[in-house]
Point group: C2
Chain length 526, copies 2
């Protein structure tokens, strides 16, 4: 049974159009159009999106925006920004954009304007961040805080972790550490290098029942209590959560619980109090600049015509390759060590948001949805998997991310980074013919985007993340899926709970898993 999407005239036309474009090598597209570099570039303040090295002609963008129009992208966008219940499976809005909205426009959830809630929460955040950073907040032994340990997983970890590294030149006064995994190794290592008197734990969990986060929070609590006694907990733990009751049970003062709302998904929550550890690291002024950058991208996304709209074009190019060129993956190549965690962050953002095969109307899709996202910092990846990008079996579209500014004043290093980035994009696009020596030939015709930040500061970083958020949204709208839930992860959680609780197995599969669980707990050699 085919969906209305694949039956639509524009979808069919894009299929025919792909065959036309496929016949033209990327080299010829470049050769035949001296203005291609400029015409296929969109700019917004300190961020440029260059898509000249894609397998497209102007008509492609035209057809793709027609597809977006057919899928009612503008209507969907409007609904998201206004707080409509677009996450239908969970009956929720998706209002990460409200978290950075500076203009005076009420946004209602269940009839109630949430903007005042956001502002009050940010005010509380600001007061707390200033207090800790200025040393007014004291630990149980009267000392100022020097170490922050963020305990959270998934969206409560990946965003703050990425941002803290990306914005590390803006960090002052405090050291921030991140713990996510159920593996105690991560927390053990951190605790070995800090002392409780100067440490503040930030426990981030919407439900305050996340297994990994609670395991680590309790381990941290025990460590603190062993050294400073049970009274110390309130001065060394704060929480970001929607479950005040559970947080209180843990021993955290309700005055030190920062809110997170059910209209923000974990992977979109950096802009809320989930970004607390980041805010503690870089200060609220920088945190606000990051929000401003994201808001600038929101504004662009809401107002620019589809064909001149960065997240729209980027998302539609994602659809173009995934659905009309049958690509399976997208590689993320930030040429910046500070963006080392970006591929991991985008893995969650895109694969969790759009890794689904059921439409909003409970129909099985008959087209591919989210690709695999993977990546590595340039130039490191060049000495690793780029071999496959150039000569492997499959075409993998690439996003290159470059930083113009040499903030370290190391011109040789900086020039090497940028030259290599451009050269890789060129080698992928143009390849090298070698009819007699196939072994050294590169096929070329492998597309890439280039995202250029003037500098890697809070504002540009905010723009970059919002760009990807909206790109993922655009894809989700075209694919008619709910980008804001994650139903596929429940089954694994259930099975794990059953195994840990030693539940009786009632199916042959569970019998098998119970035996397997016993096996993995027993060494081979005793």
């Amino acid at each position: 049974m085919s969906t209305s999407l694949t039956q639509s005239a524009i979808w069919q036309e894009l299929g025919h159009h792909q065959a036309e474009v496929k016949a033209i090598p990327l080299r010829d597209l470049v050769m035949n159009d001296p203005r291609r570099l400029e015409d296929f570039q969109l700019s917004l303040e300190g961020l440029r999106f260059n898509f000249a090295l894609n397998r497209i002609v102007p008509k492609t963008i035209d057809l793709l925006t027609q597809l977006a129009a057919q899928q009612k992208l503008e209507f969907a966008r409007e609904r998201m920004f206004c707080g409509e219940v677009i996450n239908i499976s969970e009956g929720r809005a998706a209002l990460h954009t409200a978290l950075r909205q500076k203009k005076d426009r009420p946004i209602k959830v269940d009839g109630r304007d949430i903007i005042p809630d956001i502002l009050i929460a940010r005010l509380r955040l600001t007061r707390f961040v200033d207090e800790v950073r200025n040393g007014y907040w004291k630990g149980a032994s009267g000392e100022a805080i020097r170490h922050i340990v963020n305990i959270g997983i998934g969206g409560s970890d990946l965003g703050p972790r990425l941002a803290t590294r990306a914005l590390s030149p803006f960090i002052s006064k405090l050291n921030v550490h991140f713990v996510a995994n159920a593996d105690a190794f991560e927390l053990t290592n951190i605790l070995a290098n800090i002392d409780p008197a100067h440490t503040l734990f930030v426990v981030v969990s919407k439900t305050f029942t996340t297994q990994e986060t609670l395991l680590n929070a309790h381990m941290a609590r025990q460590w603190l209590v062993n050294k400073l006694g049970p009274q110390a907990v309130a001065q060394h733990f704060v929480a970001v959560s929607a479950n005040q009751a559970e947080v209180e049970k843990f021993g955290i003062d309700v005055a030190n619980v920062f809110p997170i709302w059910d209209w923000v998904g974990g992977r979109y929550s950096l802009w809320s109090a989930v970004g607390l550890s980041l805010a503690l690291a870089i200060g609220m002024e920088n945190f606000e600049k990051m929000l401003d950058g994201a808001e600038a991208m929101d504004e662009h996304f809401c107002t620019a015509p589809l064909a001149k709209n960065m997240p729209v074009v980027m998302g539609l190019l994602g659809v173009w390759y995934r659905n009309f060129w049958a690509t399976k993956a997208q590689v993320i190549l930030p040429y910046a060590e500070r963006l080392r965690d970006l591929p991991r962050y985008l893995q969650q953002l895109e694969m969790e948001s759009n890794g689904k095969t059921t439409t909003q109307t409970n129909q099985r899709v008959d087209y591919a949805t989210a690709p695999i996202i993977f990546g590595e910092c340039g130039t490191v990846g060049q000495h690793s998997f780029h071999q496959l990008l150039h000569q492997g079996s499959d075409v993998i579209p690439a996003d290159f991310i470059g930083i113009c500014e040499d903030n370290l004043n190391k011109p040789q290093h900086h020039q090497a980074m940028l030259a290599n980035m451009v050269a890789q994009a060129g080698a992928l696009a143009f390849g090298r013919d070698n009819a007699t020596d196939l072994h050294n030939a590169c096929a070329g015709n492998r597309p890439s985007n280039l995202i250029l930040l003037d500098r890697l500061d809070p504002f540009c970083f905010g723009m970059l993340l919002a760009l990807y958020e909206h790109k993922v949204f655009v894809e989700g709208v075209v694919w008619n899926i709910n980008s804001f839930d994650q139903p596929g992860v429940e089954l694994g959680k259930e099975l794990a709970r059953g195994l840990e609780a030693k539940e009786a197995a009632n199916t042959s599969e569970k019998v098998f898993l119970t035996r397997l669980f016993k096996t993995v707990q027993t060494p081979n050699i005793n």
Copy 2:
């Protein structure tokens, strides 16, 4: 034009067999065979490879080993271990296995036994490692060394970096830091936290001309000279290289150059002096145990019958999915924070080794070769991209890697790790039917391997890496490609050199890239 591989009877038969197996849900395979868990498991000392959750029946292994036999796997294996020139494009042997060979068997390269060279080099390594670790080696100001900074990229970084983290409980006396990227951020950060008097730089580059490594080595040299003067270089820099002339020019004493040979590829070189920083961290005794573990796997690979041979079965399962199920990727899921860098290491190992589409006889392949390798530590990935593994468009075979031993004595954490790992494998394999609510249904039938280490110690770790090395070799032999060169990376290097040297552009592509290079160097907003 089709290759003899795809024309072969066994290849065709595997195609028919796939259709038969596809008709049987994984659930039924498990239900119908109470001994499946044990029958599809291979063990070697402290390592087990369980492949019960694959879409296979016993006949599958039988057919796949016939394919291996047809591709002369045993002959190829023999040729590799004996030092034949199997890397034909570069005219070299591939003798990483000789580096860990403990038995008394000469291996000749160009008529000369290399085993004495290896032993002498290891003896020199041992003496040096002991000297530094025991504080006999003094810096220019008479102080013992406390910090090691490894400067290398690709194979000179990924292996030592992975191993140093994986074996961190075995580290004593010295702190080891790794610098790879041309981005000066990485080295700048490290230098900010160490002092030159206690620091030894280990510069690792076979040619000693690798751009990134030389940039960083010169930056480190300048930092040292600024503080301790030019005479200090010899006491604070050692090298692992095959190019003594260049190393001497840099100012490193020839007595402190450790050899690397052209019969070891970068991505297979951890076992040589390229592992120096690791050896400094964990001591030679532990380093030798790692070699012993790898040798145990070599021995198994050389002697076990194909159907009972771990790397063979693992490699053939890779071929099974890639070529007969058209999978595009393989996800690596180590349930151990200490193996966080394993996916990155395997990206290089597999994608650089087998990301090629030209056969050994200079013919274009008509079958898929290396898949995309990506991954993340469990349980972290569960809160990120596992949504797509369970409900996404494409089937992605998974390797789960678990550790039996709870070396931190944190039973709750440890049990959570193992239960989640088993549960994820189960959820992928068995899925969940839900005819009325497609949205919550999981398709299941998604295969996985389970690799279990009794403990994550040097020996088991050595086994694990050797297992993957040989798995990649097996795939390369079946695909009839050279797994030991990397011709696809040259074009990018050439283009980058041209851009940096401001070479005149002689083609329209180069004109385009030159303009693009200018663009990326100029901010959008001035």
